[in-house]
Amino acid sequence: MNVEIVTSDLLNVATLVIMGITGLAIARIRNLFAVVMLSGIYSLMGATLYVILDAVDVAFTEAAVGAGASTVLMIGTLALTSDREKATPNARAIKGLFVCTLIFAALVYGSIDMPLYGDPSAPVHNHVAPRYLGESMGEIGLPNVVTSVLASYRGYDTMGETFVIFTAAVGVLTLIGRARRKKGGKDGGSGS
């Protein structure tokens, strides 16, 4: 039992340290191709963290979308733009550092009030979660409570999310889907 706790702590720390290093590297590196690859690694480590937290469904999504699909889309975007980041003037970098520090401090201040991880008296464990866990087997009858919540109790929200994806695809189609079909020497001849 004790050994198990230590192992999971070690895993947590190792994952978070790798995520921190990856984040710093993303901020420092100017070659955007490397940045895209690093952000894929960041997502993969995020997925690992979700697995450690027993949120397998979320980990699944993060690995498929964050590390898989969005990496390919980012590379597609790099092919359209440039794979080198422009250097930022120092004055602007200092302003950015100031804003980031401010937001970081605000986030840390906000997280002081949050209940500890795994605290059984935390509000999230005493609101609707006990009902979902206790009665979804009798009301919905599925072993995976996540699916019951997602598709039935919160079916309305999931429908909204599906419409968001639909809208995103339609938006991309409208903006760049049909561009440059009638291609000549000129640049402006988009065919929509």
Binding site: A69, A79, N144, T147, A169
Partner: protein, 157 residues
Amino acid sequence: MMMRRKMVLRVVSKLLIPFILLFALYVQWHGDFGPGGGFQAGVIFAAAFMLYGLIYGLGTLREALPSWVTRLVLSLGVLLYAGVGVVCLLLGGNFLDYDVLAHDPLHGQHYGIILVEFGVGLTVFAGIITIFCAFAGRAAADVNPHDPEETARAGDD
């Protein structure tokens, strides 16, 4: 495109793609018993086609999966989801209250969830393919401006 001559990539991807598709179907239909569901299944299914498009070129992908198919599937998914809700309304329940879909409320819930998850899977799959093809088509047009055939096919979405 540029990877047309990479023998290893072509052979390995050809071996992998059927298993990726099969795994996506497993995730889709077993989302109620294990981790997964429509969203994850849609992304994995789309990943198989994205791999195909990356290795064999966008034109080949569009021959296998024309743009009218993805556009149709994109809207079919949301229609299926909302349609299940409307059927619940017509059967006398609330919107998306699957209890009324069958005599036994538990069966009704099960049918409703499977249909709704399938709708999510369809829309996510088609949405990701659509976005991928739009970006890649634009890139192909930039990289290869003197090949109007490829550009026209690639940009056709």
